[in-house]
Structure formats: C-alpha cells, structure tokens
Amino acid sequence: MYRSHVLVCGGTGCTSSGSLKVIDALNSEIKKNGLDDEVQVVETGCHGLCALGPIMMVYPEGTLYTRVSDKDVPEIVSEHLLKGRPVKRLIYDETVTDQGIRSLNETNFYKKQTRIALRNCGVINPENIEEYIGTGGYEALGKVLTTMTPDDVIKVLTDSGLRGRGGAGFPTGRKWMFAKGNKADQKYVCCNADEGDPGAFMDRSVLEGDPHVVLEGMAIAGYTIGSTQGYIYVRAEYPIAVQRLQIAIDQAHEYGMLGKNIFDTGFDFDIELRLGAGAFVCGEETALMHSIEGERGEPRPRPPFPAVKGLFGKPTILNNVETWANVPQIILKGADWFASMGTEKSKGTKVFALGGKINNTGLVEIPMGTTLREIIFDIGGGIPNGKKFKAAQTGGPSGGCISAENLDVPIDYDNLIAIGSMMGSGGLIVMDEDNCMVDIAKFFLEFTVDESCGKCSPCRIGTKRMLEYLTKITEGKATMEDLDKLEELCYAVKDNSLCALGQTAPNPVLSTMRYFKDEYIAHIRDKKCPAGVCKALIGFHIDKDKCRGCTMCARNCPADAISGSVKQPHVIDAQKCIKCGTCMDVCKFGAIYKE
C-alpha cells in the first residue's frame, strides 16, 4: 500500500510544457529520499486545465499544483511528501481559501462541470487496464454480454437520447438499430478518432486519458449489431493517443476483454488501429471508410448509408470517440439517469475544448443546456487582459461565430443550428475585440479550400471563389455588389455540395455576415479594418507626444521605413512600411499605433 499518490498529467498539453521531465525528477527524488515504498507516481491523462500545465495532483489530500517544473520537484518531495507541508506558491490559487485548501470540485473551473466522457481522464493511469477495471471498467460489457439481448441494448440507448457527438447529432440507438437489422456475413464497428477540427482536442484527451472506454463501447456495439471486427481511425498526428490505444488493445487481449470468447460467452471481437494520413474530409463517414480501405479519402453519395453498405461493402456503424465514451456509463447507470441531464432534444453532457482568447484554456464537460456565458465567463474565467468579448466560434470550419447577443442561449444541437452555428465536435474558440471577423471567415475558407477533396465542383470551385471574394474584401478592393454575390454563392455551395464538408463550408461566412455585417461594410465602404488586422487596410503611425526618440523602432525596422534623430519624434514612411508590426512590439513607450 502506498500512503500517497502523485498524479502527473501526461496529456499533450502538459507533456509539451515539460511534464515528462517532472515525472523523471519525481521518481529520482522519491528514490533519493527512500520513499519508493510509500509514494507512487502515476502518469495520467488530461485534467482539463491545459493552460496551467504541467499539472500535479497529490493524494490523499488532493492538492493541485500548477505550472510545476522539474526544478520545483525537490522542494515538493522534501516539503510536502516528506514533511507534510504543501508548497504554497505552486498550489492552484482558486483552491486556497482562508479555511485551508478546498476541493478542486469547488473551484469555478470544475464546479459547473459534469464529467461522464471525461470521468477517468486525469484520474487513472491510462496504460494500466487494472485501474480502468478498478473504476468500473468493462462492467458494462459484462452486463451486456451476460444479461442483455441486442434489442435491450438498443432500447437503453434509444431511451437515453444519446446523439452522435461528432457533430451531426444523429441518434446513436437508431444508428445501431439500422445496422443490426441488416443481414450480412460480416459487419464492422468503426471509431472516428480523426479529430480534424483545428482547435479541438477533446477526442485526443479521451484517447490519451481513458483509451479502454472506447474499446469497451465498441465491443458493446459489436455484440449489439453482430460484428466481430472493429477499426479505430485515429490521426497520425496524435502519437501519444496512438501509443496508448495500442497498449490498451494489447492489455484488453491479455485480460480477455477482446479476442475470442469474451467473458466465456462465445462472443468474439477484435479491434485494429488505422492511422489517418491527414485529410479533414475523412471525418465524413464514407470518406473515412474509403481511407480505411486504402483509397483516396473521398466521400460518396448516400444512400446507401453505411448501416447498409459501409466499410468493405458491409453494414457498418461509425461513432465518434466521445459517443463511445458515453456508452458504458449509460448501460451501467441506465437510460433515465442519462436522460435526466440536458435539454429536451439533447441529453447528457458535451465536452468542449476551450481555446483562443480565454483565461482557462482547456477541456470542460458540461451538461447540455449550459449557456455560453457560463462556459466562457464562469468556467473559462473570461477574457484575458481586460479585453471585450466579441464572438465564440463553435463547430470549427463547419460551424459559425456566435455573437454577444446569443451568450445566454442554452447550448444544444438544435439551438446552435438556429443561431447559425453548429455543435460540431466541440471546439470552442473565443475571440476578443482584436480579432477581425472577416479575417476569421477567410481563415476558415482557406482551410476548406485546402481540404476540399475536389470530387464535386460546388465545393471545389465554389469555396475557391468564396475565398477570392473574401480576399478582395480584406484588401479593400471589393464592392457592395461583391458582398451580395458572396452571399448568393454561399447558398449555392451549401445546397449543392456532395458531403457535409461543402454543405457546411459557407457557415463561417454566413454567420459572420449575419452578426458582424458592419465589419464587412467597414472593409468595403470605408476601406478600414476596425480590429486592425487586415494588413492592406491598416497603417502604422507614431504618436509625436509619446515618442521619446529612443531610436529602438528605427533600429529594428526590417524595411528601413522609420526615420528621425535621437531624442526627436520619429516618423514612419508609409510607402516603405511593410506593416510587420515590429516597431509596435519593440516600442517601450506605447507611442506606436495602428489605424
């Protein structure tokens, strides 16, 4: 028995901030102090507070240390682990109160969260199947195999109201029912772990923090629809996730949770990993299946739907990582429990990856129906540097921007669509007054143009033409007529594209036009970029009263565009200026402004 456990996050965010060095230092320092029999170091998945990484949690007290570096480790070991005196300067501020240290669950970041899909993330060692089993893992699979018929499973899922967490929100129970109903010599169960939305990392965190939950969910589906083979299509850019999934699959085999005759019930199920090779369109189900087949990842028209004719021409179900992570809990706790959370048509919780201009960037799981205001201001801690909230973007390149007027709309699948965005996989990027909305729309269009597979012309040509209009606008060369044409084109691409990539590509443009039309007009009519982002429309100037003539800007200007004598106000030559902004960064007196 260990008297203390030290949990260190080994997710991507914390690893990038140096958590592996912290773990090494901990192990050697613990050994040096002869504590190896008393204290155990556990590398876990993501806690969610990525901005404050590396994160360390010391149990049994539950002390949370943030931004720990390997240099802090000797102090933590000698003070906290040896003498029982927590290192105050590293403790997460919010957990410190006058009455002592309070639980993490009482902090603003965690208080409003309900963790179902993320329940084990940051809590267990993802590379040890026993820890997963210790928290009730594989119990749902056992229950299904020994006490439930496939129809029972489908009924529970249907009653729970679980909808696909990959973006479109198709009812999971119904999807499984279709696949079960089709007869075939082989059927397949697939997991979409090709998280392509730039700015979303919730699937990555589940895979890194709790890989077995995905395997368990897929095995349950295998039993339900009559399949013996599963595939997980995971991004090659997620090396830690790939590695942990492989370890999990091997361990599940060893413990008899995958393979032949699982739980002695005669049910066989196996899972193979396939690495995605980098194509956003492979998030579309038919494209993903083509990719597993070793082809170009192009979508095809539906019907036939994959439940009839999917992978290798056989009935197939495809669900997203977060959907899989919900399944075992629903089986164990029942449909009513799950359906008691959320809104009328969207049940349960949703994981969001908070990013952009927000204090607590990281991963949160909230009940459906929570408002954007609660997520951004209560959980996310608001906007840094006292700036003003401008918009939140959900749904990635398929979604839209939500303006301040909709901050109080309860978040669910249908409400988000009604306000011109969509749930998507759960990326939530916050923007402040320094972000130009036309530029953001252009950013997403650049992405879709890059990622359009080229199979159908509305998407291939349409998105390119849309990008050309947006470029014209950001360069101040567009007319009001162009704006109308752009809007018309958006609807044409939306209505005529083959797959969801093209059908949703205009959303970033349409939603920014809907809520921020004045910004478009400012670019077109006044030739001004109000946020000061679009380079062609801004100029850098020196405030004569503030300039002390220190020559810093002139010395750093790469274009030799700044002139002036020492101790005299300097001037920028607009003709020579390349608008790189270096002068603004180096000026110590705040004398340079852009307009």
Binding site: G199, A277, G278, E293, D585
Partner: protein, 163 residues
C-alpha cells in the same frame, strides 16, 4: 500540394530491405496501401517516386492509384524534409492568438517559404492544422517536440538551439 521531387533519389539497400519486409507483413491486410505508405515514409523520410514504384510493383496496384493516394493526404510528402522539421500550428486557437505572424517570421528568418527546405537541408518549414496543444497557443512543433506560448522574439533563439 506535393510535386515530384527533383532531388536525386539515394535510397540504400538496407532501406529497401526494410520496405520489402513491411510490405510482406502488411500485404494481406485489407486496405494495406495507406499503412504501407506510412511505413515507407518512416523509412525514407519521404515518398520519392522510386519508392512508390516498388510499392506499386509488389502490391500489383497500378502506379496511378498509388500516386493518387500519396498525393491526397497531407501527411505524405513527395519532397525530402529538412533535418529539423518545423510545423507551425495554424489551427483556429493558435490563429486567433497570432500564429500567422509567427509562421511568416520563421520564413523570413530561414529565408524560405512554407513547404520549402533550407538549401543546406537543415530546416524545413510548413504549416499544420492543430497540434492539439491549444492551451499553449501559439504553438509549433520541431521534430515532434512542441514549443508553446511563442512570441516573435523567441524564434531566433529556438532556431539557434539546433546545430
């Protein structure tokens, strides 16, 4: 988008042996082309036309199909990469935190454009979509290691740390 490399191919017999082993291991699996191309790129660092020809011959898959697949996915490169591969994240979270200027500045410091490699073969520069390190935005990755919370003035120092 990838083009056919003009750099002379200098694969070694050892690499070829490794590739043939991989092909043998995977060829019976359904849909093996993508995994084999991935392994081939691990072995050679990129996918020169010579390597694709070997794969096409061994798998009895027409070259046009192999080429179709290798040019479809952004992971595959038909050009060699630098010794140090710099990938700047232009995912949304990084973009709104100004990773665009970071990308531009790196190009300026290295004297190359995105997708290119420095003449000495030391650095290659490319943009990528989301490293999943959004909490550290703006971020970039050099040979698999993530550098986060970047600012323009940190870049030269990071480049200098590679010799």
């Amino acid at each position: 988008m990838s083009t056919i490399s003009t750099v002379p191919f200098n694969g070694t017999p050892k690499q070829e042996k490794e590739l043939l082993t991989v092909i043998k291991e995977l060829e019976d699996k359904p849909g093996c082309l993508v995994p084999i191309l991935q392994k081939a790129q691990d072995i050679y660092g990129y996918l020169p036309i010579e390597v694709q020809t070997i794969i096409s011959d061994k798998l009895h898959i027409p070259m046009e199909k192999v080429y179709g697949v290798s040019t479809f996915y952004s992971q595959f490169s038909l050009n060699p990469k630098g010794k140090y591969k710099i990938q700047v994240c232009l995912g949304t979270a990084c973009y709104v935190k100004s990773s665009g200027p970071i990308y531009e500045k790196l190009g300026e410091l290295l004297g190359i454009k995105g997708g290119e490699c420095t003449p000495d073969g030391k650095f290659s520069l490319e943009a990528c979509r989301c490293l999943g390190a959004c909490g550290l935005a703006p971020a970039m990755m050099i040979n698999g290691e993530v550098y986060g919370r970047l600012t323009l003035d940190k870049l030269q120092g990071i480049l200098d740390s590679f010799d």
